[in-house]
């Protein structure tokens, strides 16, 4: 048993944290958010630093790393509040290609992802699907060798920056059937694809995506038709594992920022950090962040186990981190007092980011139900 990161993982952490300090500090980030194209520079840097290729297979331009490499990146991204669509592209998009793609599809797309030339957004949720991965109304009808797609996808993170969309669509069965779902990798510039772009609560960019008689060739289908749900569950678990680490990065920042603020902020003639009621709340924040890290790490390490063990570990971590991050975020804002609710202070932005993450691919209640169901299944 050991908990050591490899030299490569430590190197990723160091270079990323240096970059964030120099190029992605809070003011620079704020400026960049106002610009339409600043993310492109950042994306090119990610490619240069090897972050995009880190977890990809070596035969397709990657470095052959795994979820732990991603977790290191995600934690630093959390600390720096990075809004570029890293997880949708590198974890979800590349994951779908790895698990379901043909050699030709991998060759074409994974190399492009590794080089920073392909950005993928996951067009999965729908206006009425909430977080149920099996609830798919968007249709893909067989048309000669190819398919025709119709439907609407909701809150597609990173779609404004993406050049390709990974789409879940129903090729057979009813709206909530587990069987009958397929995955397509579609160019965003395909005829009939339209998007309505908007920012989300945490300054990430997303879009509603509409498919109107979008014709795609057979090469757009990833894996077998009708049988994509297990792959979707797997890549969503992997995405959640990465997002968990991002939330941990945010929580660590919130505890640090709050502690520093409480040490300098004076009331009643002394620093508010001397008040026991605030000390204990900050201790609870510290413990929440530590336990969150434990759970994030546990889930990441278990990603390679059986489908059931993987799903249980990820759901357990989502429950734990969802609750902890809500507590840490609210407490951080509270201890900052009035300053905590201003846009000017960084702390509130971490709170917004963790609030966003909690509602990404299932909130606490969703994952508590999933964990319980899996638990009962394994007990039976």
């Amino acid at each position: 048993m050991n908990f050591d990161y490899t030299d490569e993982q430590n190197a990723i952490r160091d270079s990323l944290s240096k970059w964030a300090q120099q190029q992605y500090d809070f003011d620079k980030r704020r400026e960049a958010l106002k610009s339409e194209d600043a993310w492109k520079t950042n994306w090119a840097t990610f490619a240069e630093l090897g972050l995009l290729m880190a977890p990809l297979p070596e035969e397709y331009g990657g470095l052959g790393g795994g979820p732990l490499d991603v977790s290191v990146v995600a934690e630093e991204f959390g600390k720096a509040l990075v809004v570029e669509p890293y997880v949708p592209t590198v974890v979800i998009g590349a994951g779908a290609l790895k698990y379901a793609g043909s050699a030709a599809q991998k060759e074409e797309h994974l190399n492009a992802i590794a080089g920073g030339e392909r950005i993928i957004a996951f067009a999965q949720a729908e206006p009425k699907s909430r977080w149920a991965l099996n609830d798919v109304s968007t249709t893909a009808k067989k048309d000669g060798a190819g398919y025709v797609l119709n439907g609407q996808k909701a809150v597609v993170i990173g779609a404004p920056q993406a050049d390709h969309l990974l789409v879940t669509a129903r090729t057979s069965g009813g709206q909530r059937d587990a069987k009958g779902i397929s995955l397509f990798l579609v160019s965003k510039s395909a005829k009939g694809v339209t998007t309505r772009d908007y920012p989300t609560m945490d300054d990430t960019r997303a879009a509603e995506v509409y498919f109107e008689n979008v014709s795609v060739g057979a090469e757009a289908l990833l894996g077998a038709a009708d049988g994509a749900l297990p792959v979707i569950e797997r890549i969503v678990d992997e995405a959640n594992a990465a997002y968990n680490h991002e939330a941990v990065g945010c929580m660590r920042m919130m505890t640090d920022l709050t502690r520093e603020y409480a040490k300098t902020r004076q009331q009643f003639g002394k620093p508010i950090a001397t008040f026991q009621v605030l000390q204990h709340r900050m201790v609870d924040m510290f413990m929440a962040a530590e336990e969150s890290y434990s759970m994030a790490l546990r889930a990441t390490i278990k990603l390679g186990e059986s489908d059931e063990e993987r799903a249980k570990a990820v759901s357990a971590a989502k429950v734990s981190i969802g609750k902890h991050s809500r507590f840490v975020g609210q407490a951080a804002v509270q201890i900052h007092g009035g300053m905590g609710v201003t846009d000017e202070m960084r702390v509130g932005h971490y709170f917004k980011r963790t609030t966003m993450l909690d509602a990404t691919f299932g909130n606490v209640d969703y994952h508590l139900r999933r964990f319980t169901a899996l638990n009962q299944k394994s007990a039976a």
């Binding site: 048993m1 050991n2 908990f3 050591d4 990161y5 732990l68 502690r259 409480a262 040490k263 950090a273 001397t274 026991q276 000390q279 204990h280 900050m282 201790v283 609870d284 510290f286 413990m287 530590e290 336990e291 969150s292 434990s294 759970m295 790490l297 546990r298 390490i301 357990a316 429950v319 734990s320 508590l368 964990f371 319980t372 638990n375 009962q376 007990a379």
Partner: protein, 395 residues
């Protein structure tokens, strides 16, 4: 990063599992309430382990420890929980023993360590006083030097199982003019000394787990003082840090989750289905299991740090807080699971000769009441938060 056990660790696990299966007294398996146990019951496993050389896994090898790695010690605790053993009491092995081998003279080590290891000598703790609980340093029990003796006067309390004790370790005030922490000394006292009176205190569970200890002109040889005069606080802090390290009780809690599940399978919920299928109950059980996973992983991280030579830091306070919260939630949920047969309470009359309801039902309420102690002892959870605030967060 790798959380799997190595082949050597798996071989070790099999070895200790087999040893426990073969050597643990069957009649004592799964006993959960201390008042059901005699002095001999408490010491049975300790004595078997003493003969095997396994009674003090955390001690340095030169003093009788096993030389096991942190991972092996973790496996050892897991296997003992699995075998539902009564672990050796902490007062000798985990508390005074480490103080003696760290601060004691060669003569003191030679005199006391063998009895601690073998389980021949029962130790008790004399720390708290009626007026000194969380504020331990305000203790008033007085030790006045007279030639080569101290004369002790005062009262200690919450002395766990002191009614069986042969020896006790006490914090006493040797200098009343110094700052609170600087006038305290650490003494070993033979409980059979004239002037020592032990009075059991009845607790909510109906049992007598703790005691008042009255000290009236008790004569203690100076060579029974550990470390320097007025430096006892150093030993006290050292001991409390050691006590906290093992306090998370993860392995035992995991076992108790399994017990709880078997109860919930046997009990029928309000809708006529097994309680284990009840949504509300399941939700609480899942949350408990998830929080226990978080604690376990955090403890493993701490063990890994320890293995790397970094020692249990003030973060061990986190393990104490979270570990005891989970222990208490488990007793609470078990009480809920048992339903109305948790209500009969023959122990309140001082007896436990008959059980009303299923076997598992009679212990649920006393265990629930008893375990309220966990967030209070070893430095209350509020004190643990003070420690983290000061030592970890620098507030």
């Amino acid at each position: 990063m790798d959380l799997n056990f190595s082949p050597e660790e798996i071989a070790f696990r099999n070895e200790v599992r087999a040893f426990i299966d073969e050597n643990y007294p069957k009649r004592l398996k799964g006993k959960v309430l201390r008042e059901d146990l005699s002095k001999e019951d408490f010491l049975a496993w300790h004595k078997i382990l003493g003969k095997k050389g396994w009674s003090a896994p955390a001690w340095p090898k030169e003093y009788g420890g096993t030389g096991w790695t942190a991972t092996q010690r973790y496996i050892w605790l897991e296997e003992n929980a699995r075998g539902e053993t009564i672990p050796p009491l902490p007062f000798g092995i985990s508390m005074v023993g480490p103080v003696i081998y760290t601060f004691g003279t060669p003569e003191q080590k030679q005199r006391h360590l063998p009895g601690i290891l073998s389980g021949e000598v029962w130790w008790a703790q004399g720390y708290s006083e009626p007026g000194a609980g969380s504020d331990l340093a305000s203790l008033k029990t007085r030790a006045v030097r007279e030639g080569d003796h101290y004369i002790i006067n005062g009262q200690k309390t919450w002395t766990t199982l002191g009614q069986h004790a042969d020896w006790g370790f006490f914090l006493v005030r040797t200098d009343t003019s110094a700052k609170a922490q600087e006038g305290i000394s650490f003494l070993l006292i033979d409980m059979k000394s004239p002037g020592v009176t032990v009075r059991p205190i009845k607790l909510l569970d109906g049992g007598y787990e703790v005691n008042d200890v009255f000290l009236e002109n008790v004569k203690v040889p100076v060579d029974q003082r550990i470390y320097e005069e007025n430096k006892g606080w150093t030993c006290a802090k050292f001991l409390l840090a050691h006590e906290r390290a093992g306090i998370a009780g993860v392995a035992r809690s995991k076992r108790n989750v399994e017990r709880l599940k078997s109860i919930a399978k046997a009990e029928i919920g309000d809708d006529g289905k097994p309680l284990i299928e009840d949504d509300e109950f399941q939700r609480k059980l899942s949350e408990l299991e998830i929080d226990l996973s978080a604690l376990e992983m955090t403890e493993l991280r701490t063990l890994a740090r320890e293995q790397a030579g970094k020692g249990p830091g003030p973060e061990s306070s986190l393990l104490k807080i979270k570990g005891t919260e989970i222990q208490q939630r488990l007793t609470e949920l078990t009480l809920e699971a048992v339903g109305n047969y948790a209500q009969p309470y023959p122990r309140g009359l001082g007896g436990n000769e008959f059980a009303v309801g299923p076997d598992y039902s009679s212990a649920a309420a006393p265990v629930y009441f008893n375990w309220r102690k966990a967030s209070i002892y070893g430095g209350s959870n509020e004190i643990q938060r003070n420690i983290i605030a000061k030592m970890v967060l620098g507030l």
